[in-house]
């Protein structure tokens, strides 16, 4: 369902190819495809419309370069614009001149606030700071327990207010007392976790505003689930109006969401995205990279640098030969080995695979580690030429011999053979996806044209 934008554009732009300039007429279809790709990525309807308008203005009259196809060129314009839009530089959290730096964390239910608080505390602790957590989510059952357990696992103190074993239902008081407590214990960073709340819940929105007034935080972070759809604009706007927050945290980016919400939020509130949260473990927190996000939204893989890097390594003739082999399913282990040598010169395998349009998603599920490279090389090196050309003849005793030859186990050999079969299958699927019966235009990817 989510064909990558690059693939779509290759099709839509057939009409533009061969024409010297991008004109209003020849990019109408293309703009529709771009808009649709953005909508498929959950970019807000209106934001997507405005964004495509802007891209069109930029693209119109632009010269079609000969080295890349017009489709790729447009994708690059879209991509550059997206990166620009998402904020080119990284914004961190500025620490207060007089500690403690007070960080207030707010957002909808289930967006991942509590986990993020744990991660942020760990992040600072590793930087040699003395963070403290405050459990101001006094409503959700066991929320205080959850924060306490997270805090315990990273060895960070947490301030919670309980009387007779019951959580005191006064978030403002918890937050204020936590500040005093942090001062008393010379903690230099205080992270306040708050209850998840609906942006239209007047009472709860008032509460978080009251917390803000009471503790005067140095930094307010709005936590948002990266899988959020069209409604992201409504929630972000409302939270921003109430809190005038300083930055956004995108969570659950370890899934396969395209994350268009990032663009929508950025468009309505003009606040930087500061962190990306990528897993349940407490070390899964990274700074936000606009370029990666842009690639993700477009589902495109990094076409441009792929083309650039590939150009250095492949010549047109080789690419054509390889393309024919894939099409006719003659692709064998010898070819594979040859490709590996070339690819190795280009960089990390996973990076490279991720750059191929349409592969991004499939790759994320695959475990590709670069060390596996060495093993693959070793295994193939231990095969005879005949075995490389006809992998199907590799029977049990051959497998044992190969394993001995390369110092690995038989199951490693099995795994490689299995991976190779899967790879062939994937290439076949790609051929179908991209060509719909016609040949894969690998030459375009690999530097031809």
């Amino acid at each position: 369902m989510f064909e990558s934008l690059s693939e779509k554009l290759e099709g839509a732009l057939k009409t533009v190819t061969g024409q010297g300039r991008i004109t209003e007429l020849n990019i109408a279809t293309t703009m529709r495809e771009i808009r649709r790709a953005l909508l498929d990525a959950d970019v807000n309807y209106q934001v997507a419309r405005d964004f495509t308008e802007r891209v069109k203005e930029k693209a119109l009259g632009g010269e079609v370069l000969r080295s890349v196809s017009p489709g790729q060129q447009l994708v690059k314009i879209v991509y550059d614009e997206l990166v620009h839009f998402l904020g080119e530089t990284h914004h961190g959290i500025e620490l207060a001149p007089v500690p403690p730096t007070i960080i207030l964390v707010a957002g909808l239910q289930g967006s991942g606030k509590t986990t993020f608080c744990g991660k942020l505390a760990r992040y600072y602790k590793r930087k040699g700071r003395a963070p403290m957590l405050a459990a101001a989510d006094v409503y959700r059952p066991a929320a205080v327990d959850q924060l306490k357990k997270l805090a315990e696992s990273i060895g960070v103190p947490v301030y919670a207010l309980e009387e007779d074993g019951q959580v005191v239902q006064d978030a403002v008081r918890v937050a204020s007392e936590a500040v005093a407590e942090a001062r008393r214990n010379a903690r230099d960073i205080l992270i306040i976790d708050t209850a998840g709340r609906m942006h239209i819940d007047e009472r709860m929105m008032q509460e978080v505003q009251d917390i803000k007034t009471a503790v005067e935080p140095h930094e307010i972070l709005f936590v948002v689930d990266s899988m959020t759809g069209q409604d992201a604009v409504n929630t972000a706007r409302e939270f921003n109006e109430r809190l005038d927050f300083d930055g956004v945290v995108l969570t659950k980016l370890d899934g396969d969401t395209r994350g268009g919400a990032a663009l929508s939020i950025r468009s309505v509130v003009h606040k930087p995205i500061k962190f990306a949260s990528t897993g349940e473990k407490l070390d899964a927190l990274t700074e936000f990279y606009p370029d990666r996000m842009a690639q993700r939204i477009l589902g495109m893989g990094d076409v441009v640098s792929f083309v650039e890097r590939a150009q250095e390594q492949f010549d047109e003739k080789q690419a054509a030969r390889l393309q024919k082999k894939i099409r006719t399913e003659e692709f064998n282990l010898e070819d594979f080995y040859e490709q590996l040598q070339r690819i190795k010169k280009m960089g990390s395998l996973k990076d490279l695979l991720g750059m191929i349009p349409g592969m991004g998603r499939q790759i994320r599920d695959l475990d590709v580690d670069d060390d596996a490279f060495k093993h693959i090389e070793a295994i193939i090196s231990s095969m005879t030429v005949e075995e490389r050309l006809n992998p199907q003849i590799i029977n049990g005793s051959r497998r044992r011999r190969i394993a001995r030859g390369c110092g690995l186990e038989v199951h490693d050999v099995n795994q490689l053979l299995k991976q190779f079969r899967e790879m062939k299958k994937m290439m076949k699927t790609m051929t179908k996806l991209m060509g719909k019966g016609r040949a894969v235009d690998l030459s375009a990817l690999m530097g031809g044209r």
Binding site: D40, N44, G110, D145, Q146, G229, T235
Partner: protein
């Protein structure tokens, strides 16, 4: 941020207007009589597109709906805008699957199995545990004997959270300690259910992103183990979806259906401004009915899904 600033004023105003635009023009229009028309004006289709896409229905399903509406209108003709609206709504509602006697959504309905075992799955933060608390309360109110199983042994304090809901609903719970094998907890719960002559068993599971192969396998294992204790169990596998989730919900439905064969959907957090339109395409594509909606944080804030009301809400 040069460009950003340059565009800020003008574009921002336009954007705000666009976003604020209420859905009045088409669906709030006074009923206007027309002479038996068999086509829909482009203006109406554009507006329909906007309503659907901004409700997270998704481009593909939106286009499907527009095709259906056009085909229907060509066939049946309409004489007033009101009639056209009714046709549009009916076409959308028809895409979603209805309730079945095999797995009734109603709490009073006779249950086809005893114990009737419900397994609840979903990604992190969608509201699984809260939904279970509400379901337990509803079944209990309907006079059923309910037992909960705390098989989310992974997330910090998940067991405590379910425990509190069990207490609120006034139903017993089977639990082990944090980090225990979730399949073992599920097994124990079903064993206890048989021994205690329980009507409904609801098993909580840890939230997991559908892209994590290992965790999805674990879920499949929990399900298999249940079948060993009670034949046919779980009878219902509910996938909980957050109404504010966008197109990724399709991927979730796909992956969870593949690993545990989802039989029903629960749409949570409909008390906000999100419309949850994504379930239309999911229900249609995967042939799974939407069973319940969550509309608040109180224990009674769970309703049996009503297709018509849901579609009406899209146009509000």
């Amino acid at each position: 941020m040069g460009l950003f600033d340059r565009f800020k004023k003008h574009d921002q105003d336009r954007l705000e207007e666009g976003l604020e635009k209420t859905r009045t023009s088409l669906f709030g229009k006074l009923d206007r009589l027309v002479r038996g028309k068999d086509t829909v004006d482009d203006e109406v289709l554009d507006e329909l597109e906007e309503v659907l896409v901004t409700s997270d229905v998704g481009v593909k399903t939106t286009l499907d709906i527009i095709d259906r509406v056009e085909a229907r209108v060509a066939r049946d003709k309409y004489v007033s805008t009101k009639e056209l609206q009714a046709m549009i709504r009916a076409e959308i509602a028809d895409l979603m699957l209805g309730d079945s006697a095999e797995r009734p959504a109603g709490f009073d309905a006779p249950l086809p199995h005893r114990p009737y075992v419900i397994m609840v799955v979903g990604v992190n933060g969608v509201g699984k545990t809260t939904t279970i608390g509400k379901l337990a309360y509803r079944y209990k109110e309907a006079g059923k004997r309910v037992l909960l199983g705390a098989a989310d042994t992974f997330r910090a304090a998940a067991i405590e959270q379910l425990d509190i809901w069990a207490e609120r609903a006034g139903v017993p719970i089977i639990k082990q300690k944090h980090g225990a094998d979730p399949a073992a907890v599920a097994f124990d719960t079903l064993q206890a259910a048989t021994a205690r002559d329980v009507d409904v068993v609801i098993i909580d599971t840890a939230g997991r992103l559908h892209t994590k192969g290992g965790l999805m396998d674990e879920l499949a294992k929990i399900k298999r183990v249940m079948g060993r204790q009670v034949p046919g169990a779980p009878h219902e596998v509910l996938l909980v979806l957050d109404a504010s989730t966008g197109q990724n919900a399709i991927r979730q439905a796909e992956a969870f259906t593949e690993s545990v064969d989802v039989t029903g959907l629960v749409l949570t957090k409909l008390d906000g401004t999100a419309k949850g339109g994504i379930v239309i395409g999911i229900s249609n594509e995967f042939r799974i009915p939407v069973k319940y909606i969550g509309v608040g944080e109180r224990i009674e804030d769970l309703q049996v899904f009503d297709r018509r009301a849901f579609v009406d809400a899209l146009f509000k």
